[in-house]
Symmetry: C2
Subunit: 151 residues, 2 copies
DNA sequence: CAAATCCCGACTGTTTTAATAAGATATGGG
DNA sequence: CCCATATCTTATTAAAACAGTCGGGATTTG
């Protein structure tokens, strides 16, 4: 029902966590899982897909972990979601890739609605990058300080 | 994964079907199910919710069926989806109604993303009415005729 | 070598989905 | 008044998806 599964949610959280530690060498999944309150084993499964798609790189062995595959400004939330949840499509007949077309697709009025929904979701998710999120986090942090000051 | 279930899809199809027969007296579920290629029994369950929410009215007995609860221009696709799929919310913490807030909601960067997604979905679904769909169907029909003409 | 860490596949319990089935209730027409 | 046609309601179910858990293997640092 237009719900994101934990895959997408956890994945974005984890990627954001990695973005917050960019330039500090590899970050272990254990620490990500602890900070974000996610099962480490489950996170392993999710990150596997992210690695295969190149969104993160892994460093094996002790002191190993994960680093972002490219700069935060080059990683869109849409990239993450597509890897973890599959192509964006409220219904299969308007999938971004391989749309399983029904016979009446050309003249289906219902279909045009789902296309609009898909486009609007993709537009939002592709307009936000990990860099954007880092900036937003800074702003929220500033507001929070201000708020605390008045208490 | 941001998928609509058949409830939403079938529901919109069924409501659109009723809209196409507005003013013709009650339309039986059987005929709707046949035209739209949906299991009649399953459709019964879906329409039950639509009736309870006033989007359709029922007429029992022979020659009975369903009619729209108000004019097509007053029924938004968002209304239908909310009844059949629940409040629009890619994740629970940004539900349109009773958002189950997590403790960190105020300062959660991830959350703001899901809010934007929710708003963009709601905006699309609330901008389209059954009336809009009827107009679109007319246009598609016209195009189709034109296309057929050239063959 | 030992500890930390990534990597991989199999298994499990719960929930959701998408129906199906069976019967109760209502009503217009003959 | 009866019956075919409908709406209503509840229960059951098969299959899939979801959200992990578990056990073990491979790789690297100290």
């Amino acid at each position: 029902m237009l719900k994101l599964s934990t895959k997408g949610r956890y994945g974005v959280k984890a990627m954001f966590d990695l973005a917050q530690h960019v330039g500090e060498g590899p970050t272990s999944l254990k620490s990500v899982a602890e900070r974000q309150g996610i099962s480490e084993h489950y996170l392993e499964q999710l990150i596997s897909g992210l690695r295969k798609s190149g969104l993160v790189k892994s460093v094996r062995g002790a002191q190993g972990g994960y680093i972002l595959g490219r700069e935060p400004s080059k990683i869109k939330i849409g990239d993450i979601i597509r890897v973890l949840e599959g192509p964006i499509a409220p219904v299969d007949c308007v999938s971004e890739e391989d749309p399983e077309c029904c016979a009446k697709a050309e003249f289906c009025v219902t279909r045009t609605i789902w296309e609009k929904v898909r486009n609007s979701i993709a537009e939002v998710l592709d307009s936000i990058t990990l860099e954007t999120m880092l900036e937003d986090a800074k702003k929220l942090e500033a507001e929070r300080s201000l708020y605390m000051y008045y208490i």
